[in-house]
């Protein structure tokens, strides 16, 4: 077991990762039927990253996410039922059906939004961290972004600004090896994304993103440093996405069997389950029970999403301004 995580926390982490996986697998299946509108980018395979990081966060800490945001949302505490309705474009969705998959946000739990603009979250999270710093709280801001996004000017500027202002911000580079069909070997001309940290005078750390415990530990250190006034950290999480860039992607750019092999050997849920059941304090039966509960939750969310009403015509014009 882990030194810092008690039994309850381990079960919570498992439930979150399982929920993300179940949610994404279900969206994958339902997208294939043509019923889900728009572009959907799935987080399956990367669960340990969002979960390992967000387990350290309170509702007052903020995260900024990406187009591949479902996992970050669930890990930060956004209600999956509202999320599913949102993805289906329903009035009951987290954003009343106005945002969709790429814009799920819930400020009440510190989730500042998925983002349709690659790199968009970097500057924003500097802002939430700045607000915490100015108010004198210990809250932090976490910006998740991809290997592709690591080449975007906004991300560079945000890391630099966070260092200049010594902000309580953590930059989590989720390096899944691809930006759409482009390999990070092509687009990132240094060995690791974490190697960019010295350019901004901040620590750079690399972790195995299939290993929840590694992520949890490294994130914990970075977040503690930030809370204590030690400034920002760049944390590179190496992982893989199990599905295409978006649903519909044929993935001919990947090596045959690439994903299958990872699923079988390194999958974060598999590893986690093996590890936490090793000493018998947590049993496979308990985890199976969680699996069933999660499945019921997600099944139910789909049933409700399908049945829920679409936004009413009048909704088209509301929610643009607070006052106008």
């Amino acid at each position: 077991m882990s030194e810092t995580l008690n039994r309850e926390s381990l079960l919570k982490a498992y439930r979150i990762m399982r929920t993300i996986r179940e949610f994404e697998e279900r969206v994958h299946t339902d997208f294939a039927t043509g019923e889900i509108p728009g572009f959907v980018h799935l987080y399956a395979g990367e669960e340990a990253s969002a979960t390992g990081v967000c387990m350290h966060l309170t509702g007052d800490d903020y995260i900024a996410s990406t187009h591949r945001g479902h996992g970050h949302c669930i890990a930060k505490g956004v209600d999956p039922v509202g999320m599913m309705a949102e993805i289906w474009g329903k009035a009951t969705g987290t954003c009343k059906g106005k945002g969709g998959s790429m814009h799920i946000a819930d400020l009440s739990v510190g989730m500042l939004g998925a983002n349709g603009i690659v790199g968009g979250g970097g500057p924003l999270i500097c802002g939430t961290a700045l607000a915490a710093k100015i108010r004198g709280t210990q809250d932090v801001g976490v910006c998740f972004f991809g290997d592709g996004a690591s080449n975007q000017g906004t991300i560079f500027e945000a890391m630099n600004l966070a260092a200049v202002w010594k902000l309580p911000a953590i930059f989590v580079a989720e390096n899944n090896g691809y930006a759409e069909a482009t390999s990070s070997k092509y687009s990132v001309p240094c060995e690791n994304i974490a190697d960019r940290a010295p350019a901004f005078g901040m620590p750079g750390v690399i972790v195995d993103g299939f290993d929840f415990f590694a992520v949890h530990k490294a994130a914990g250190e970075a977040i503690r440093r930030a809370r204590e006034g030690g400034g920002p950290t760049l944390l590179e999480v190496k992982l893989s996405r199990y599905y295409g860039h978006f649903e519909g992607d044929q993935q001919t750019y990947r090596a045959p069997g690439e994903v299958q092999k990872l699923r079988e050997t390194k999958d974060c849920l598999l590893q986690f389950r093996r590890r936490i059941t090793a000493d018998g304090e947590i049993t496979n039966e308990q985890l199976d029970a969680i699996d069933r509960e999660v499945k019921t939750l997600i099944d139910d969310s789909v049933v409700r999403a399908k049945a829920d009403p679409k936004p009413a015509p009048a909704d088209l014009l509301t929610d643009v301004y607070v006052s106008y």
Partner: protein
């Protein structure tokens, strides 16, 4: 000319023919080939929706995949244009302009003037625009008004496959910076397109339908909505002239003004939000230059002043529909 191809194929063919004709033409963008550095297929995508597919192997070294750095590579296209190439850079979704606008509007667009006429910047920026894909607020905007506002840019909004090919060829041959906007909903539209290469000059509107009662000026996808409305109105005895300016900058004012001189009634259909839009622009020009001919208020049929919503239920209301166009035409026709 019986061959029919899609709007998307027409764009691909224009790129292909110009690359074959002129070795200075290169293309670049995120996944314009796709698969760079990856273990699997090279040219795995050919653009996010496949528009540039097949060019990578045909023109070795001239199809460049880029990191996600729009300022970087769009600016590089501008710089390369100053140094003798004729680059076509793809911005993927026009909505991404916010991360690279400077290189277009302060650099490319202003070089010639700031440098006293001593620069030429033959760069083309291609981008997808428009609503209809349930792609929500950050992937569905029009934004051609912003480019049209900027002196030094030319702005192209083809409404059909034939125009897409001919206007893209002209864009590449043109010696000024050109913003070439492709409506994503039109990619699958089929139409007759000659196999041979041809260029459609800028600033020459297409009168897509002739009529004496009401002038409709529409842009891009809205030309088709307008034609649908016009066909329906014909049955009610209202004869619409549908004008497709094809380029918003330069703008063929004459064709519009002549039509309004004839009809005295004008409806403008613009998919973008209404403030400072192309709808405003045309209305303003006509209210100044053809005022004497006007017999009715100028109606603007646009999206509302709201971001593009995600849900199909709302997005379908957001985009100007043939029904709304019909209603506007009827109003101006009946105005006394």
């Amino acid at each position: 000319m019986a061959r029919k191809i899609t709007y998307q194929q027409a764009i691909n063919e224009a790129l292909d023919q110009e690359m074959a004709r002129d070795p200075r033409v290169i293309i670049m963008g995120e996944d314009n080939a796709g698969g760079a550095g990856a273990p699997g297929e090279e040219d795995a995508w050919g653009g996010v929706l496949g528009v540039t597919k097949g060019l990578f192997h045909k023109y070795p070294g001239r199809v460049l995949d880029t990191p996600i750095s729009e300022s970087g590579y769009v600016g590089a296209a501008v710089g390369a244009a100053c140094n003798g190439l004729r680059p076509v850079a793809e911005l993927m979704f026009v909505d991404f302009i916010g991360v690279c606008f400077d290189q277009i509007y302060n650099q490319a667009a202003k070089f010639r003037y700031m440098f006293g006429g001593k620069a030429e910047t033959p760069v083309v920026i291609r981008a997808m625009y428009g609503a209809g894909f349930r792609a929500a607020a950050q992937h569905s905007q029009c934004l051609y008004n912003m480019f049209t506002h900027i002196p030094g840019l030319k702005v192209v909004v083809p409404s059909n496959p034939y125009d897409a090919k001919g206007l893209l060829i002209q864009s590449i041959r043109d010696n000024d910076p050109v913003i070439f906007l492709e409506h994503k909903v039109l990619y699958t539209m089929e139409g007759e397109v000659p196999e041979e290469s041809y260029a459609i000059p800028f600033g020459e509107a297409n009168v897509a339908r002739e009529g004496d009662d009401v002038t409709i000026v529409a842009f891009g996808r809205m030309v088709n909505q307008a034609l649908t409305a016009a066909a329906a109105l014909q049955n009610q005895g209202i004869h619409c002239e549908v004008i497709d300016p094809r380029t918003t900058s330069p703008l063929d004012e004459d064709t519009i003004l002549e039509s309004v001189e004839k009809t005295g009634r004008l409806v403008i259909v613009d998919e973008s939000t209404p403030r400072c839009s192309m709808a405003s622009d045309i209305a303003g020009i006509v209210a100044q230059k053809a005022f004497g001919a006007l017999k009715a208020p100028i109606e603007q049929v646009t999206a509302p002043h709201v971001p593009v919503p995600f849900s199909d239920a709302l997005e379908d209301l957001y985009v100007p529909s043939p029904a709304r166009i019909e209603a506007a035409v009827t109003r101006v026709k009946e105005y006394r």
